[in-house]
Amino acid sequence: MKKSDSKAKRGTALRRESDRALVQQIRRLLALPPSKRTNFLRKRLPGGGSTL
């Protein structure tokens, strides 16, 4: 019981941290002018897949 409690707490903490990181990233992007928010293109790789 105790083990699953701590697992749930860890999961909640991870989700909160992930959400905080997403909001920070969005705020950094919103601080730039739209013409500078251009690092979004993925390049196709030969044989499939893609990379930034």
């Binding site: 997403l22 990233q25 739209p34 293109l41 390049k43």
Partner: protein
């Protein structure tokens, strides 16, 4: 990688040939501040004989070809350049968008180089992705909604 060279090319070539189109999809969402990525640039345009002629001129100008990858009535025209993988998709119908005019009336003009591109609002992109409801649309919707919340918070 940066999409700036493609955006400058698109803005310059559309202006040169007077082709009016609105950037939509993940590229537009990224320019509106969302941390999302894409392989191509998607545009909505009005499918008129004149615009199709202009589209062909834009393709010639960029050293690209125009393909119709799906059945003829789909309204999708794909501009492709093999040497660097440039791909611009032009759609006359977009899920969740009632008309080109309504999308255009809300779009923002963003300058790239010496010309501007029309970029759809985040609200319209969210509406469109919600209506399309493909797995890739559902995957980015929470990020787009979060961006919109932050924008509203900053502007409010």
């Amino acid at each position: 990688m940066t999409a700036e060279p493609w955006l400058i090319l698109a803005a310059r070539s559309f202006a040169k040939h007077r082709l009016e189109a609105v950037l939509i999809g993940n590229a537009a969402a990224a320019l509106q501040g969302s941390p999302v990525t894409t392989l191509d640039l998607d545009f909505m345009f009005r499918k008129t004989p004149l615009n199709l002629t202009k589209l062909k001129r834009v393709a010639d100008d960029l050293g690209a070809v125009v393909l119709k990858p799906y059945y003829p009535a789909s309204g999708l025209f794909r501009l492709v350049r093999d040497r660097d993988g440039l791909q611009f998709d032009f759609m006359s119908k977009v899920d969740g968008i009632r008309s080109y005019q309504s999308l255009r009336s809300r779009a923002a003009a963003v300058r790239f180089g010496r010309a501007t591109l029309l970029v759809a609002t985040l609200e319209d992109i969210i509406k469109s992705k919600r209506a399309a409801n493909r797995p890739q649309d559902r995957a980015v919707l929470p990020v787009l909604r979060r961006t919109l919340d932050e924008k509203v918070r900053l502007e409010g």
